[in-house]
Amino acid sequence: MSDVVEKTLTALPSLLSLDSQPGSAKLSSTSKLGALIRGITELTSKHEEEKLIQRELASLKDQVSSPNTSMRQMKEAMVRAIYCEMLGYEASFSYIHAIKLAQQGSILDKRVGYLAVTLFLNENHEFVLTCYDYKHIIPIIIYCVYDTCNTPLVEEKLNHPKEIIRRKAVLALYKFYLIAPNQVQHIHNRFRKALCDKDPGVMFASLHIYLQMIKGYKDLTASFVTILKQVVSGKLPMDFNYHSVPAPWLQIQLLRILSILGKNDQSTSEIMYDVLDESLKRAEINHNITYAILYECVKCIYTIYPKTDLLEKAAKCIGNFVLSSKINLKYLGLKALTYVVQQDPKLALQHQMTIIECLDHPDVIIKRETLELLFRITNAQNITVIVEKMLEFLHQSKDDHTTIDLVGKVAEIAEKYPLQTMNTVFSLGGDMIQPDIPNSFLKLLSEGFESEEENKKLRLFAVDSYILLLEGETRNLPQRFLQVISWVLGEYSHLRNDLDPARVMTLLTKLLEMRQTSSETKTWVLMAMTKLCSGEASVSIARSVCEDLSSSMDTVQRQRAHELLLLSQDRALRSQLLPLCSDPEPLEVDSSLSFLDAFVSEALAAGAAPYKPPHQRQEELAQQKALSLEPYELSLPINMSSSCVTGRQSPTLMSVSSGLSGDSAELSHKGGSTTLKLEGVKRVWGREGYLSKKEPVEEVAQAEIPSPLSSPNQHTGASGTSSNTHPPIPTPEPEQEKQQLASSLFVGLGSQSSLCLVRADIYALHVAVFQYSLSVIRPVVHFEVMGMLSYQSSHKSHEVEFTYKLPLTNFIRPFTVSTEQYGAMWLAFSNDTKQNLNLVTDGQDSLTDTLNVLKGKLNLHIVEIIGMEGIVACRLAQDQPCLLHCHIHAGTLAVWLRSPVPDLPDSLLYHCQRALEGT
């Protein structure tokens, strides 16, 4: 009796709810599930929830195992069990009851039973369901069991009069096919029947199967094309429309099938050109679903045998995606581009600026997709920039899967371009990379792997590739890379027996002589030389290097040079200090420098000032402003660093100095308040004297033609004025940076790129040509053009000062005149100067020889030579002349210069002197 009461009670609420809203079963507030849910929401802690659920599960267990429980109650209990499982609590006791419910209940009970079974179990679960009944069963069977389910039953359903049953049966077979393709092979003709079903829904369902095994059905191409044509032109019932687009899912399925059929098959592809064109045209409504279709369409067009006008239309379509302001469409556009650039890399060029923008997009997903795209367009020229971008992303990525994927891609690139690998990976980001990257690389090289053979191979490979690099153009290599190179060569060149150390020394000397080489790098180079220096040839190279550097302003370099000199002469000491086969035992560093204590106390006793840390010194300096000690600022930190760059195995220690020393020019900019601020201050005095005639040029990357000098008559303005005949068009800096990035990323794609883009080597080089015309009021020996170049990279702005020296001789041209004209001019010119110069005496006619030397070196015109006298003429470009009268007097050449331009004779005389000095 109590059973009956309970049943009645549970039935009542649902009756009430049905009364109010038939068809939309709103919740009965008193149901057990409702009570459970409300109970949970009122709880405050996880612990309480757990207690409540455990209680609930216990009562559920009692209920389901009781023989008196009706199917209806069972159904209700099952819903609660499902809910508990969703919350993450196991209700395994109910599984068997779910199956029972699915077997025995009425249609509705069964439905809940199947739902529970599908949620609780799967095909790998030990529970096996072997029942079938009515329409709801079939879909459910396929979720959970397949091996015991007999296909004949489902096959039978393929002939069911109701289209919905047929559709579900087809989908069930599709699932079977996915699980066990062999078991449904015998019913392929059934699929064909389904494809021809009068109901489009059944046909659509059959497409899932065809998509899986379409390769064998080339003969069906025309049918698929016809179906797609009908769908696109809206022949299907309205039921299939989705937001007034005809059957989008069906369209997409067909497009996928067509793209598989048409791949690498011209004749098949030709059948579908028309319908693809039609699909592109029809998809006009601005809705996500049309974009989804367009995307598939574009993919299909680029997959099948190409047709030019279709490709053009598809490319335009991609443009709409990429340029869209909707981020989802942009994402898909990038995806489409990624797919398409494999066939047509030029498309990436069209959208390069958008791609650059996406590379900096705040959404990592967009960024990631852009990298994917870049990965596809990697070539020998843009590899560095792309790898750099990838590594940048890797730095920020926290997701393991992404990291693995990207690292794999970097490795793939590295495999594709082995020659560039070394350069790329170690020269990434140039000097911006963190110092620990080269350090850890060196550590890897020195500590090596387990196999000694591998180690040797790797080291030899490094030595070989670096020798190769140094033999080429070294000017663009980043400083850190040069440091790595010098260390590797110093440490491991001895492994290559046939390599003459002197050759390596010569290559390293080249680095020392390079202007760009920073003083820190130079110390690395010197250290390498010290390690290498064996054999006579090397020692002599070392000696000459040391001579050059012994007068260096940089104390560290001087110290290194001195060490090199001493160690190159003392072989025993050198091999003791820098053993060839050093074992990679960690060096112990006494950071307190206690070994110097004796020395310090001695010095203090002798009256030396106690040591003050730099910050204290700076404070004191700030206080006593009267005394300006700025110049010493630079050398102090460099001095400090010198003590720790001695060990052979000390790549990590070396880096200590990197923060302190470095390029002196850089320091002077960073120096803060205590150093001289030169920015914005016009330099008036230079090495050669007063510089007022030149003005710093803002941006000059490459001066094309030295601008012609104008006559002082034409420009009589105050000294220091200049006329910019071609003012540079200002480009906003970020924009320029993007352009530059674009040029380095998209280099080597398509033919039109060669015009505007410059080949990117280790660095992204972008050449900008600005033409300026400067007028110079008075001639001087050298014209020095100074300027400041500011640029941005990786969100940091940099400023580089540059100077360019033009000697006067660049502007001297021969002046062809007759002796008479010469005589007339000579008297008219008022500015003159006289001096005796060296004679060239090794020939027979010393006057002629001397004048010929001048003619050759300075570009003069010899008017006439009469006996011991000679007259020579030249002019400043196309402008004012300068005349020289030479005669031999007491074993020297007496020269008398005259010109209408003041200072010209003096300046030219200087060059004459220099020209004759060398002989």
Binding site: T8, L33, M86, L108, P139, Y174, A205, W249, N328, P362
Partner: protein, 156 residues
């Protein structure tokens, strides 16, 4: 092909789960945890797609509820968004201005609707009318059944 569909609240509480490939409980729990943390951490004005292992995750928020669909990587993301949208439309049509509570308290109905819409990870039926008719038919059955049963009990 779709791999799974999850519905969860802004607090990360799971409201519905549907798996189209066999997975162990542990794998499911991991996916649910990953999905809720990843999706809830997304900033506004970012795209609706994510990568997770070899899958694409398509998610969209409707009021307080997140719909999160896991598809194979070659699938079309926009189409996935529309699958979610159509499902929401179906729920809305059935419940009439659907809210999270409807789905909490009638989750089995939400499952039934989903099962009419998707099957074995593919679209089965896209028509709102057809699906709704199916669900309403079975509700009618339930009504008859309830009435019948009620009478029997009363007079039995």
């Amino acid at each position: 092909m779709m791999r799974f569909l999850l519905l969860f609240s802004r607090q990360g509480k799971l409201r519905l789960q549907k798996w189209y490939t066999p997975l162990s409980e542990r794998e499911k729990k991991k996916i649910i945890r990953d999905m809720t943390t990843m999706v809830l951490a997304r900033q506004p004005r970012t795209c609706n797609f994510l990568h997770w292992k070899d899958l694409k995750i398509i998610y969209k928020r409707y009021a307080s509820l997140y719909f999160c669909l896991g598809v194979e990587s070659e699938e079309n993301e926009l189409l996935g968004l529309e699958v979610i949208h159509r499902y929401v439309e179906l729920l809305d049509k059935y419940f009439g201005n659907v809210c999270e509570l409807d789905i909490i308290f009638n989750f089995e109905k939400a499952y039934f609707i989903l099962d009419e819409f998707l099957m074995s990870g593919e679209i089965q039926e896209t028509s709102k009318q057809t699906i709704n008719r199916c669900i309403e038919n079975s509700d009618m059955l339930q009504e008859d059944y309830n009435n019948e049963w009620y009478e029997v009990e009363l007079f039995g």
